[in-house]
Subunit: 495 residues, 2 copies
């Protein structure tokens, strides 16, 4: 049985050491979350797997790190100073603030994210919406810029913002990296780090945070030259059937990549690779869809836009966790204009501004998806999570703490700990120790018992089936390696 | 020959793809830096090694991640709102801002960091210091709080700050993690992430940034109970001789840890482990010292304080890159008072507020130290850097691109790339390709030549000696493994 409410899942995450509201001892601050000792491990593993997977697509896809604080001019050029706003409506009675589109959505049940200030104002009047908190009259609709502003230097000489997305740092580095990478194109610049949005009224837990973690990859290329290259690479795609929901469709369909050949090869290739990441690394299958956004839904500079959506019970259904955006030459052109620095490269006998295709992942949302899809309650509480992502991959227990079993188990722990994320637990009954590992998603538990002392073998228990096998210590590492690398199944070792 | 000026080293770092000033196309912003494609790899490796080393000291040392934005109350309790300031002096003529202590230091040559507003004001008058930029008259001295302030929520309802250090997030999590970790003490909470200080006038490149990366580990313990435990662990220390400079000494001495037995065991243990990290992981030996700070130099809540200092030519000598601070129960007591939440635990038959010992590392400063100590110019430009930290560990070349050598080299690359950070370079002469890897610190270059096609062997060239050995492809992975893990030396394989 899976958990069905956000509150229930949040409560488990808090007790176990995964995620909780930040500054908790001061009553918390809406929109900010801490990763505890298990959550931090899960986040590290996810980010490591993400980097491994996407940076290995091409030797010329690289990581960069850029600051969280950006100068005013950068975000003026990118258009964020002018356009990065939500519609704010305050209650005239209690003074609480609301996102205008959310007020409308709560009544109509339909997305209102695309609506402007005037449309929302009209809708609120038409539907006679009052304050959800106190039923008071709502005030006027206004545009509220969601960027956090900071003063750089003493006495506010220079204005800056916390970056609302990580991408601007990679765009600005295009010319320098183009030279450092010896003018080889296409190339990609990825980054993993925080982004900040001063949400009017954060709801839905880690799904909408004021400070969140992004993992993004921007690929710079010239469509007319490089589409052929990506066409060739379509052969490297692992799954030729992908779960797609095109504009106008009312549900997802498993379709062959041949059926979306109206999209360019660079788009199909990266969309397929994103699906491969979800299927192979995050091991999500049925509860995922790649949904195409209509021209009203997507930003004007996103010429093609699919969101990855996961069906999360705790958030009431399909929710965006990643996106693939073909942004044309919009970003580099904006910075070329704003900075007066040349962003074009020689191509087709002239100079062209490279185009960008952007892979954008919300790290926290993806972590949440793993927890949402993975937690099970019922006979026992347990978390099913891919072996490669689990906070701990192996736990080692002595059956009892005497007769040399404690020391032997420490020996086994020390050996395994260099290869796997390993936990050593020596207190409480074996049943309790299994239960604790079930709750935090440790796929394998290794127990040192009296037989170990005689024949140098241990048991391995699998979380999914709770079945056990007995293996010799000399083979232990190799077997765990094959299991965690998915070269073998637990079943293959059963008698 | 090593590089001697910061400008020279900065220029190399920029050309090669390591580090440069952020928002470069907009003229840059003082105090902010980008990590390019090589710098990001180096930073990732350093952070990974740091986590591996310090979190493996105790199974109960864990990682957590907490937000960059903290509510006002948190930093009020910690004392940062009141005390986290530098003395600011502005020029009456040109309006430029200066750090008061730096103005004094530049004239006296002695540290003035400990001086308060009035002391600096008097010193500036006494020494008749004028504006370094325009020689104009300097204005009054004032306290300038170095935290970046942000408004949380619409219309500035709530004030917050960008965290000036990562530690507050771990302190606040003490009570929750104490429970999640089943009340086992001592335990440690580490975190790696950005911190922000609105420096008045950042100088010295990445050494003093407005946004920088910290790696910190806070250990919570009860001295009266746990000192005995750390006393036992002194046996696990790899080096019993450490380079120490005590208060009052005018130079460092290699001394036995027995000679600092006036310090408590928990302090000696962690100090020795920090030295071990520098010696074994960063491979820094002569240019390091552990300098004790006098009571004037250290903050009042740091009862014992040593800085790790590295002798960096590009920064004019010994510079702090890390510190070990015994902070007593100061931090948890402050938050207990500020939050009204109990921070004490049962100990010695009563309730006690745990003490904290803090390991604090400036990530950027440590990266800079590696580059400063590692870059060599002369006959060739090359970077010596530990195998485990190098951006790329191995480069693979085909001697020529024909006769099947290109394909064979790709095969070798694909095999090595799953185990090592590997680069594949097929363009330019072999000499040029070696030179390029020398410049970015790749310790081993593997070349596929005509003999490879006949006898399945390749050459490995070592960066330090430029010597080559020929090995069979079947042994290649194992040999590189032994070299990078330091189980063997290159010399051991020489004919």
């Amino acid at each position: 049985m899976v958990m069905t409410t956000r509150e229930e899942l949040e409560s488990v995450c808090k007790r176990r050491g995964f995620i909780w509201q930040s500054s908790e001892i001061y009553g918390g601050e809406a929109g900010f979350y801490d990763y505890g000792h298990l959550g931090a491990r899960l986040k590290d593993s996810w980010e490591e797997q993400w980097k491994d997977f996407f940076l290995s697509l091409d030797q010329n896809y690289h990581l960069v790190y850029t600051p969280n604080i950006l100068p005013y001019r950068v975000l003026e050029s990118s258009g964020h100073v002018e356009h990065f706003s939500d519609v704010l409506i305050k209650c005239n009675r209690c003074g609480n603030s609301f996102r205008g589109d959310h007020l409308v959505e709560d009544v109509t049940g339909e997305s209102a994210e695309w609506m402007g200030k005037d449309e929302i104002k009209n809708k609120v009047e038409e539907l006679n919406i009052s304050c959800p908190d106190c039923k008071g009259d709502l005030g006027d609709a206004e545009d509220f810029n969601m960027m956090f502003e900071v003063d750089i230097g003493p006495k506010g000489e220079r204005k800056g913002f916390l970056r609302p997305e990580t991408a601007q740092g990679t765009y600005m580095n295009f010319p320098r990296e183009y030279r450092a990478l010896r003018r080889n194109m296409p190339f990609g610049l990825a980054t993993v780090g925080p982004a900040f949005r001063n949400e009017i009224s954060p709801r839905q837990g880690v799904y909408r945070m004021r400070e969140f973690q992004q993992a993004e990859l921007q690929i710079f290329f010239i469509p007319s030259i490089h589409d052929a290259l990506f066409e060739e690479r379509l052969e490297e795609v692992a799954y030729t059937e992908i779960p797609v929901m095109r504009t106008g469709d009312d549900m997802k369909k498993m379709i062959s990549v041949d059926e979306i050949k109206d999209l360019p090869a660079y788009y199909i290739y990266h969309l397929s690779k994103i699906y491969e990441f979800y299927k192979d690394i995050m091991e999500i299958e049925g509860d995922i869809r790649l949904r195409e956004l209509s021209s009203e839904e997507r930003a004007f500079y996103n010429k093609i836009h699919f969101d990855v959506e996961i069906n999360m019970k705790s958030l009431g259904g399909w929710k965006e966790v990643a996106g693939l955006h073909y942004r044309s030459d919009h970003d580099l052109s904006q910075h070329q204009e704003g900075s007066n620095k040349k962003m074009s490269v020689p191509a087709d006998g002239e100079r062209k501004v490279p185009h960008v295709i952007e892979l954008s992942f919300g790290v926290d949302r993806n972590i949440w998806a793993l927890l949402d899809l993975g937690y099970r309650t019922g006979d026992r509480d347990w978390l099913t999570i891919p072996d490669k992502l689990a906070p701990y991959q192996v736990a080692v227990f002595p059956l009892v703490r005497k007769d040399g079993l404690l020391e032997k188990s420490e020996e086994v722990f020390n050996k395994l700990n260099t290869k796997f994320r390993t936990f050593w637990d020596v207190s409480g009954s074996i049943g309790k120790r299994y239960a604790r590992q079930d709750e935090i998603g440790t796929p394998y538990c290794v127990t040192v018992d009296y037989d170990t002392m005689e024949e140098d073998s241990v048991t391995i228990r699998e979380i999914k089936t709770t079945e056990q096998i007995r293996v010799s210590i000399t083979q232990l590492e190799e077997i765990l390696q094959k299991l965690t690398e998915k070269e073998k199944l637990f079943d293959d070792y059963m008698g």
